[in-house]
Subunit: 150 residues, 2 copies
């Protein structure tokens, strides 16, 4: 496969990103790719927060992957800053291409560059393939992730 | 017990907060309460980020609990903003007093006030009492939490 470009997401990338969010066993129920207005408002909130890094991966100029990296300062672990990875999505055509690895490696490198001491993420308990993927990349499944919808 | 006050943490609360972080089976190995300088630097990073809410709970003017709430915008779930709870600590004298419940209820109410659609947190797999506590409060243990130290 050709060289990949990873760069900050732009508003014009939004249809492609939302299509990837929706093309997912869990996302299919949660997303509304035919109505981009809530995503546009969220994109503006992300763009206004310097601790948010929403990126896309492009191959031949086409958006084929995305993730969101959040930088979170904190007191614990001697005042360590950590990063949180959310919203990892890979286009169906690219699964198995190594793109997921490249995106996560980008996130880990960017976290180091921003002096984070810890990178963390949660993965739905049903995504067992994703769990093996993260463990292969060096993550430890050390925590239980709790969520409450409001 | 007397009425509890929950308010934003101040720099003068830092020794009491760090003492609570260190007085914990996992925190004992990770924290350095005799050297506050890394915590002071982290406090300044937290204070500079409007999406971070580090709070303390006080009883009779004494710091007896703390948590950190982070507001995270995002694209998934139709552009939902979520909140993340980190660094929940309750003073040893207060365990079983209901203070943990009051702190988490504060965080949930603040998350609603800030239009979050989801509140999430991770808890070390070894903290089984904490897991029951969060489930009683309405959280679902739906995810696996992955971490990588840098």
């Amino acid at each position: 496969m050709s060289v990949l470009d990873i760069r900050p997401a732009r508003l014009t990338d939004l249809p492609a990103i939302v299509a990837m969010l929706a093309d997912d066993p869990l996302g299919a129920e949660r997303e509304s790719p035919d109505d981009l207005s809530p995503y546009t408002a969220a994109f503006e909130r992300l763009a206004a927060d310097p601790h948010q890094h929403l990126v896309v991966a492009l191959r031949h100029g086409r958006v084929v992957g995305t993730l969101q990296l959040t930088i979170v300062p904190g007191l614990s672990r001697r005042g360590s800053t950590r990063s949180i990875i959310e919203g990892v999505r890979i286009h169906a055509d690219e699964r198995g291409s190594g793109l997921g690895t490249q995106l996560i490696e980008w996130a880990v490198a960017e976290s180091r560059r921003q002096n984070c001491r810890l990178v963390q993420l949660t993965s739905d308990a049903s995504r067992t393939d994703a769990h093996r993927f993260y463990e292969r990349l060096g993550f430890a499944a050390s925590h239980v992730g709790f969520k409450m919808a409001l």
